[in-house]
Symmetry: C2
Subunit: 333 residues, 2 copies
Amino acid sequence: MAKRPTIHDVAAAAGVSRGTVSRVLNDDRYVSPAAHAAVRRAIAETGYIVNRNARSLVTQRTGSVVMVLSEPHEKVFEDPNYSTTIRTAIRRLGERDVSLVIMLAGDDGDRERVVRYVRGGHADGVLLMSTHAGDPLVDELESLRIPAVACGAVIGKENVIPYAAADDREGARQMTRYLVEQGRRKIATITGPMDTPGGIQRLEGFADVLGRKASRKLIEHGDWTQLSGESAMARLIERTPDLDAVFVASDLMAAGALSTLRAAGRQVPGDVAVGGFDDSSVAATTHPPLTTIRQPLAEVAEETVRLLLTLVDGGGPVDPVILPTRLIVRESA
Amino acid sequence: MAKRPTIHDVAAAAGVSRGTVSRVLNDDRYVSPAAHAAVRRAIAETGYIVNRNARSLVTQRTGSVVMVLSEPHEKVFEDPNYSTTIRTAIRRLGERDVSLVIMLAGDDGDRERVVRYVRGGHADGVLLMSTHAGDPLVDELESLRIPAVACGAVIGKENVIPYAAADDREGARQMTRYLVEQGRRKIATITGPMDTPGGIQRLEGFADVLGRKASRKLIEHGDWTQLSGESAMARLIERTPDLDAVFVASDLMAAGALSTLRAAGRQVPGDVAVGGFDDSSVAATTHPPLTTIRQPLAEVAEETVRLLLTLVDGGGPVDPVILPTRLIVRESA
DNA sequence: TTTCAGTCTGTGAACGCTCCCAGACTGATC
DNA sequence: GATCAGTCTGGGAGCGTTCACAGACTGAAA
């Protein structure tokens, strides 16, 4: 392979200096139309491409951001929602010619690698995914003063790490209200982990609507996995056999709840109505298909990226963005 | 934030020259134990981290590889299998301190961006995912002579792009044999797209077992999506109402086939046995749970990464790796 | 005519690293 | 004590950019 052309080669081909080429490359002021045209032509002729390493060396900017997935290894991606977010982020960043590096932060070794990466100046910004409350990584990033945003709030850091998120609380209210309207009287809930915004806020929304009817014995906690949905449902029907509805804080857990109910001989929605949350891809494949709350995942991802790019460009402090959810009625409720 | 320490600072702190520090950093020969210790200590004290840009500028190596997802935008990630592959790749690469950049290659604009990225020397290698037959990107990468491997064969380029893959053909044979052993007589199949290895080879395996009984009218094609599974199944039962089994080349399509069968009033597995492929996460949530073929996805991903790193390290030509599949019996067959 | 602001261009000096070469120092061998 | 191979170290050059600055040229205003 022939050696790659450098800015010198372009300058020579265009009959101008390095400086002028650089100015054209960076859309700087003060380049005559003639010089501009000559440089453009020379770039096309030589097939020149800027060397980002050389550029980064002097600008201290990398043209890439890192997405950090803070889940224990086994769980990463278990939630199909990740896919949408990643895809959307790549696309939006790509349009701005920013590339996306993905790193895991499931254990201390991983976290150290992330910190080293960021401290090494290899990313202009950090996009946090599913970061749990108290994650030490957040403090470290904060002290490095690198632009950071989160997709979904970081509990306890809502005022430090800007974020975009779906309106979990209102979404939970929508579903709970719907169950009430359908005439359900004994409504239980299976929540997510209580150190995640989805876990906390979806329970709050549930309680907002039911008030004191949301008794402790009608609440069980899961960890977003299907298996945890199964066992939480089992505990609920054992404790309150006459419940007639359950709001499950994620579709995957709802799928688990459905199998438990089926195994227990309860008809859905005849005996028990089941409401999910997410409108993820499993929602359509369960039997019966899940009535659920759709989160505008793509929009959340887009907003997250927008926030990050604003920060990276020095666009000053930004406010969290909360996007509305929507009830999707299928057959389970 | 204080300016980041450079190799000069470390050298000064250790009382040696830049050259010696660089030698320690790169595990070069000829460094005295004393100098080595002094440098290590100085690195710890100063909190020094190498600047990869500066290093790349001279070594022409980046310490990162790019994963290219060659699917039309809407489809990327639809298949939950992506998640496993990405996660595994990140982890294995991370262990070697190689970072992973993900790019989309769904349209020409995307492809051009990928080529520019690679031509710009920003990656040491390319990991292709689900690349279709005839993708122009492959030729371009070939001409750039950058190490490239694929996760799953690239049709028509099997001898050019090394790959790791599950044994699709044998997997299809396993399932078909199983259906025959269960006493099924009229066995149909829903294939994947015929420009993908999974589409082609799973059909071949099916035909291997059934011989001339695999008549054209028992074959329908899908595009991996659930919807395509639904409609393919509808065409099959219309054309051959007395079929008693169907081998579907992916779990997602099988989920679609299940709903069509249910809507048509056929009992599964009573009237019609359904066999899937992938053992992806949907396989357990369908009703009834899918009997399917498990692909060793994580191992495939690991092998793919290993191949790539071997190439990147100049480890010479490598051979494709084919890994065995396994029948998972649940309830649908 | 002079002055001046505005426009445009070229050049040297970084950025932080690795590579290579020259040279110093060891100890063993002739 | 000279030679030599092996070990170890320092420093100059260069990787491909951007940035700051100096200087040249314009045309309009004083």
